[in-house]
Symmetry: C2
Subunit: 297 residues, 2 copies
């Protein structure tokens, strides 16, 4: 494990077009640029290989899926090995005929494929019809021991669940990485857009505070039309890194592609956790109700 | 239960002096003013009956404790009955010789004493030596069905624990109330003050988002010297109410007493929870690790 005092990270915020091969080529190119620039952990946005196909329920989209590990992880594994860089790569996983997951693979430098996380919390809202495509993950919450240190991987909708962040941090993760595809319904952006984005950012900053760790959220950008009608999603970009005290250290632009680079100070984790020792005082004798749905039913 | 479409609430942010009787008299007077103004839920700050005595470990301070219910709840119960208002009253509870809790009582209008919550998470940091004074709560996390609707009560350090907010909300609480006594060490305010306050506020706003509920934090204000030496705590006031989407609806001043009044729109709870249906998708089959301390030890 690398225990250098700083961890150089990079977030690849990108626009995703119609052609999967072109998207992968762009992601590889941007990740290469980040790795060549010295990043030891490079994070890609959710399902970057394609448009965000969950805007509609269409069985043709299952053809986009692939095994994990599979062709795309192999392409990124080569890059990971070349620069000895850790990559978090979000993919549409085909596990068996009719069985698919929203998965993130970890490619750990010269050590290669380190494992995968299958998105545990699956949303289903207008234009985010993920329950049609993805079976909820069955690998639990995971921290990966990588050349970049212990990295926890979660995906998008997981962002809203403090349980997910906590369980991943309790496994040792010092950085929580959230590949994401979230945006505004163009019809409601004016009324709700700012409040929605604020809530999204603060929920994740709070995970950093509660767990004394870094949080990295990587979002796509650009407008993708709704294939079933008018409107669509304007992905809001604004990928960011939150420090263990909750401050936003870097935030990407809303409407443009960007590679965000930052050196994470590992000592800030210890400083935060010793300064406000939340982990010391958890009432693990009194949390069993977390596994209940609601009330006393 | 009142199911009016709005819930008028008031937060009593106050300075606490040397004389407990004077502090109680002031708290009663401010709460009366709030109730007379129409508030149906009035919240007082943590341990308002005295200076924040936990700045030092001194057995003489145990004399400040009283039974709950007891003399102070009786005084507030009279006020609660007069205006049929729900009050959240934080007290230093004497349970038995040598056994004390940091407790918040709920006085429910004409129905009187509704019960108490004993602070579950007890801090212990320089000038916050609470582990010396308070046994951790043994009543679990609680929502109270009151004339003001279902009200969850937590106390200060609990603010940092998403588990506490979640478990209280899962019992039906639509408003989480956090009596608080938090401030800056005057020696570190310049360097850390803003980041500390930001983290405190965002952690609680995130509870509102994650649970689709209101959060009310009531802090004391004013400087209280460290009885054992130089310096002391400058309580940072800034009591606030967060909406179910995480927005801060009202925020008190830092250095002055204030009664903050606000009408909470109950419909915003349903709107938030239906718009972003986090409760629907919780992975209760996968959260059992929350009851473990850390790692796999």
């Amino acid at each position: 494990m690398s225990r250098a005092s700083t961890l150089p990270v990079a977030l690849v915020q990108m626009r995703c077009g119609e052609d999967p091969d072109a998207n992968v080529a762009k992601a590889l190119s941007m990740a290469r640029e980040a790795a060549a620039g010295g990043a030891k952990l490079v994070c890609l946005p959710e399902l970057f290989r394609s448009r965000y196909f969950c805007q509609s329920e269409d069985s043709a989209h299952f053809a986009l899926a692939e095994p994990v590990p599979g062709p795309t992880t192999e392409a990124f594994a080569a890059l990971a090995a070349e620069f000895d860089v850790t990559l978090v790569v979000s993919l549409f996983e085909r596990r068996a005929p009719g069985l698919f997951h929203n998965t993130a693979a970890v490619l750990d430098g010269r050590r290669g494929y380190a494992g995968k996380y299958r998105k545990m919390h699956i949303p289903d809202d207008p234009r985010y019809y993920e329950k049609y495509y993805f079976t909820p993950g069955d690998l639990g919450f995971r921290s990966f021991d990588t050349g970049a240190g212990p990295v926890g991987v979660l995906v998008c909708w997981d962002q809203w669940y403090p349980e997910a962040a906590r369980l991943t941090a309790l496994q040792g993760a010092e950085v929580l990485v959230y590949p994401t595809a979230i945006g505004w319904h163009v019809e409601e952006k004016d009324a709700l857009g700012e409040a929605q984005h604020d809530a999204w950012e603060l929920a994740q900053r709070a995970h950093a505070v509660a767990n004394g760790c870094y949080v990295i959220a990587i979002n796509r950008t650009g407008f993708e039309p709704d294939p079933t009608g008018k409107g669509g999603i304007e992905f809001w970009g604004q990928s960011f890194v939150a420090a263990p005290d909750g401050r936003v250290l870097v935030r990407g632009p809303a409407a443009e592609e960007a590679i965000l680079r930052l050196d994470l100070d590992r000592a800030a984790i210890e400083t935060a956790r010793v300064g406000w020792p939340f982990l010391r005082d958890r009432r693990i004798d009194a949390y069993e109700g977390i596994t209940r749905r609601f009330g006393t039913d």
